[in-house]
């Protein structure tokens, strides 16, 4: 069948497939509304253009709670071999993902892998997509992901996952509706008016086809009406078979359909009329929209009856255990509480084992909905399991509620060990919610309950969580004290997870105190976590290593920990610390003058639903500072929200927000208001020994003439600047790799310094500061200083930053990284980082290719456009 107006898409996919065959794999995101023809396009590619490529198809379920890793399971069944062995052996998820990647990249022939209907994907499948997306570039495979673009809003989990893939080898395609001409050409035989049909269907290809096939009296108004008009022409038995099929789901086993809707003739009728299609050894609806329309017409009674039938037929199967997700679905829809309690917890455990956390949460919730008459002990167990899954996915509000309910049950049961353990668990979501006093109270209650009992892991964890709370509140001495007790207990118990956690707290607290020995404990904490496969603690170790590196402004070191840590956290699904590191990243990029990247990360972070306020504050502060520096609007919008979030939390969180507000006020020309904002935060920063914050705030007060004495806590470059040693201050900032801060120091200097500052501001797009520098130059009597903004920030090819373009053009001159580093005053490591980012953005595999591309496409010559002119 020839598809209308899809040739360009087909050609593009064919081209991408050819490149994939040559070793340049790619991920294609194929979106479009339901009925836009995504599946038809993929089928056309696989049938007519595959050129000997192997085709592997998997689909996500439309179940209320989909089975975890549906597409992978589909493909493993067909592919067999090692992948199927790993899947059936119940091996850890990492092994499963690696085995899948090997399956699609190892064969003789290139591979087309299709994941259909990813808007319904479970969490584990989304993680698989992240995993593959970051690696597909090196595989001889084209991974095509279809999704309904109209069902994927800004906060949809798929959208969030796609955001995480922003820099990977991804092509995004959206199938548009058909034009009037195309509809007209489809309607040569039809008596209907093409304009009317095009208008009514919005050019949706599936709707057009259905409408033309409906040929009843009048024109159906909706796609649903058109589908149902066709269904109505089936015999009563045929309609009944279709109803049963709709309840069974997207993949319909013929035997099950025969059990639910007896006569084989009815099934044949559905096949003959094309309402159902045979695919491999299962049946499927011609289109998912047909299934949805049929399902909607079922009376509640009929629906319950069919679900009951499906439940009865499936639960007797020998492989019923593996069908837990499906059985739980039918059980709930059949109103059979007992069956729900038999299957939902099992489905939840299976989902949790694959880290399909969202599905685990929804299965536990489903079980608890039906657990009215359940005894308290198993009920508490369900609540605890639910709370843990919520905690793992940053649904902290829900975690608090579930743990609090479990706590009551455990208390009533007189189980102090569990009671104490829950109390200290509770402190974690409370902390992420910014309820720090309650978090501490909860751990202290845990200690009271646990200390009279023989010392075990529960007590050790309570010590360590208390250490953590003190550490994050910058109460270093107490943190070290509790942390060492926890570490000692962990060593005695041989509990490496506990030791890793405890050493992490001790290491961080030492570094906060300026005790460099803390690095040793932090490194050890990471080592223990990696060796013991304690993924959460490894994620935390990376997160805290990067936080501490940032706190001493070792930006390259921090970037390295963040690169490794973010990759680790994505691959191992350590959601909380992934977000924590995503929250730290904008600060690193901001200090390095990489503002576009910083706002990209901040935007990604802020798009997360139910984000902990602690991380939200970090994203908002970065956006606010960069908007203020660029002279962009809506600074107040983000900084006001940050203030609202930080006020109840207080401490350094509030001080950080106030410092950003002080900067924004100063850049807006209001030094007095800047000092007002800085005033409140100043004492807090000194008390918590935050040297960079104290220095920044001291500078803000000094600029307004309101600094009485320089605090010893103030970081050195700020102290130098306040002491009038702007040149030394700028040199220090330069050494830290902070161009904007260096330029800010130079603004206090003489004419050449001011010119240098102005050039840097213009390169960075710092409109607010360049205006200030220009005014000062004019005040010094310098002529020829441009008044308005100059369009220095000419935007670049493929979304490359200005710095990347510079490096790209040097690549075009066949320069080595070391030379580039020397020429641009960067560390070789930073150049490495830029080069790999350039390769990714250009979608090329080697620097030779990037160099060729620079010459052919003409990267702007490496003029030092960032120097003074």
């Amino acid at each position: 069948m020839k598809l209308l107006e899809r040739d360009a898409f087909l050609d593009q996919l064919t081209d991408l497939l050819a490149r994939a065959a040559g070793g340049q794999g790619r991920l294609v995101l194929l979106g479009g509304e339901a009925g836009a023809g995504k599946t038809a396009l993929v089928q056309q590619l696989c049938h007519a253009r595959a050129g000997g490529a192997r085709v592997l198809l998997g689909a996500c379920d439309a179940l209320t709670t989909p089975r975890p890793l549906g597409p992978l399971v589909d493909i493993a069944l067909v592919a067999g071999g090692e992948l199927q062995r790993v899947l059936e052996g119940g091996e850890p998820r990492d092994r499963l993902f690696a085995s899948f990647l090997a399956e699609i990249s190892a064969g003789e022939r290139p591979c087309i892998v299709v994941f259909e209907d990813m808007h319904w994907a479970d969490d584990a499948t989304l993680d698989l997509l992240r995993y593959l997306g970051r690696r597909i570039g090196g595989a001889r495979a084209l991974l095509i992901v279809t999704y309904r673009s109209d069902e994927v809003g800004a906060r949809h989990p798929l959208r969030v996952a796609l955001g995480d893939l922003a820099t990977a080898a991804v092509t995004r395609l959206i199938l548009p509706p058909l034009s009037l001409d195309a509809v007209r050409s489809l309607m040569k035989e039809s008596p209907l008016d093409p304009v009317l049909v095009h208008g009514r269907t919005g050019g949706n290809p599936f709707f057009v086809t259905e409408l033309l096939a409906a040929h009843g009296p009048g024109t159906p108004a909706t796609v649903r009406d058109a589908i149902l008009a066709r269904v109505a022409r089936l015999s009563a038995a045929g309609q009944a078979a279709l109803e049963a099929a709709a309840v069974i789901g997207t993949r319909i086993e013929p035997w099950l359909l025969l059990v639910l809707a007896a006569p084989a003739a009815a099934l044949d009728e559905c096949l003959a009329t094309g309402m159902l299609q045979a695919a491999e050894d299962v049946l499927a609806f011609r289109h998912e929209l047909v299934r949805e329309a049929v399902l909607e017409t079922l009376s509640p009674l009929r629906r319950t009856e069919l679900h009951r039938g499906a439940l009865a037929a499936l639960r007797n199967r020998p492989d019923a255990v593996q069908l837990a997700a499906r059985l739980a679905h039918h059980a709930e829809a059949a109103g059979d509480n007992e069956a729900v309690l038999a299957y939902a917890p099992a489905a939840a455990r299976q989902a949790a084992a694959l880290k399909a956390h969202r599905e685990a949460v929804s299965q536990y919730t489903r079980a608890l909905r039906c657990a009215g008459g359940m005894p308290p002990a198993p009920r508490a167990e369900l609540l605890e399991a639910l709370a843990y899954q919520c905690y793992l996915t940053d649904r902290h509000d829900e975690a608090v509620v579930a743990w609090a309910q479990a706590l009551e049950l455990r208390r009533a049961l007189g189980d102090p060990l569990r009671e104490g353990d829950i109390l200290r668990w509770l402190s974690r979501p409370l902390w992420y919610l910014g309820r720090h006093a309650e978090a501490e109270a909860s751990v202290r209650s845990a200690l009271r309950v646990l200390e009279p009992l023989p010392p075990g892991a529960e007590l050790g964890w309570a010590y360590s969580d208390l250490a953590r709370l003190h550490m994050t509140a910058r109460q270093s001495a107490a943190a070290i004290d509790w942390g060492e007790q926890a570490a000692a207990l962990g060593e005695r118990l041989g509990d490496t997870a506990l030791r890793s956690h405890a050493l992490n707290n001790v290491g961080c607290a030492r570094l906060q105190n300026g005790d460099e020995r803390g690095w040793v404990q932090l490194d050890r904490s990471l080592e223990l976590a990696l060796a013991g496969n304690h993924e959460e603690h490894a994620g935390r170790a990376y997160a805290n290593l990067s936080t501490r590196a940032l706190a001493s402004l070792q930006l390259d070191r921090a970037a390295r920990y963040l690169d490794e840590g973010l990759a680790y956290a994505i691959d191992h699904d350590v959601q909380t610390y992934y977000l924590c590191m995503l929250g730290s990243r904008p600060y690193q990029l901001l200090r390095q003058g990489r503002w576009s990247e910083a706002t990209d990360v901040a935007t990604l972070l802020l798009a997360r639903p139910a984000l902990s306020p602690l991380y939200r504050i970090e994203g908002l502060v970065a956006l606010g500072r960069i908007r203020a520096r660029r002279g962009d609007p809506e600074v107040a919008a983000v900084l006001d929200e940050a203030l609202r979030l930080a006020t109840p939390i207080g401490g350094v969180w509030l001080a950080t927000v106030q410092a950003a507000r002080a900067e924004a006020a100063w850049l807006a020309g209001d030094a007095a208001r800047a000092a007002d904002e800085a005033r409140g935060a100043f004492d807090e920063a000194i008390e918590h020994n935050d040297r960079w914050l104290a220095g920044e705030l001291a500078l803000a007060l000094w600029r307004a003439g309101r600094l009485n004495a320089l605090p010893p806590a103030a970081a050195e470059p700020y102290a130098l600047q306040i002491a009038g040693q702007w040149r030394a201050a700028a040199a220090q900032w330069q050494a830290f790799g902070c161009p904007y801060d260096a330029a800010q120091a130079l603004v206090d200097g003489d004419e050449p310094a001011l010119r240098e500052a102005l050039a840097t501001f213009e390169r960075l797009g710092a409109r607010a500061a360049s205006g200030m520098a220009a005014r000062r130059l004019r005040a010094l009597g310098v002529r020829g200083v441009p008044r308005g903004p100059r369009s220095a920030t000419r935007a670049n090819v493929a979304g490359l930053t200005a710095r990347e373009v510079e490096i790209w053009s040097l690549l075009g001159e066949e320069r080595r990284n070391a030379e580039i580093a020397e020429r641009l005053f960067l560390s070789p490591r930073t150049v490495d980082h830029h080069v790999s980012s350039i390769l990714t953005k250009l979608g090329v595999r080697s620097r030779a290719e990037a160099a060729r591309c620079a010459r052919e496409r003409g990267a702007p010559a490496a003029q030092p456009h960032n120097r003074a002119s």
Binding site: S596, T603, P633, G765, P789, R790, S791, A795
Partner: protein, 90 residues
């Protein structure tokens, strides 16, 4: 969705030919904007064609900048604006 005025400078003058090529260039901008959730409403061009004042709808200033980078268009200044109608107070 907020509305923004985006000022751009073209030191060599803006040249969009009044033919298919020009139309394609404008449509490409529209297509790229869609990737960033940004809509170009209309523009005013100075007589010497060195400045443009473009009205955009978009979720935030960063999206405006991302779309500009994608289209290789310069950005001097972004201002958030709202409509003031001369007959509003009548």
């Amino acid at each position: 969705m907020p509305r923004y005025l985006v000022e751009r400078s073209f030191p060599d003058g803006l040249g969009i030919p009044l033919n298919d090529e020009g139309a394609a260039a404008c449509l490409a901008v529209v297509g790229n904007n869609a990737d960033h959730g940004v809509t170009w409403v209309q523009s005013y061009v100075s007589e010497d064609k060195r400045k443009t004042y473009c009205i955009y709808d978009g979720p935030d200033p960063e999206a405006i900048r991302r779309a500009a980078a994608h289209n290789q268009l310069p950005v001097d200044r972004i201002t958030k604006i709202s409509v003031l109608d001369p007959y509003f107070y009548r």
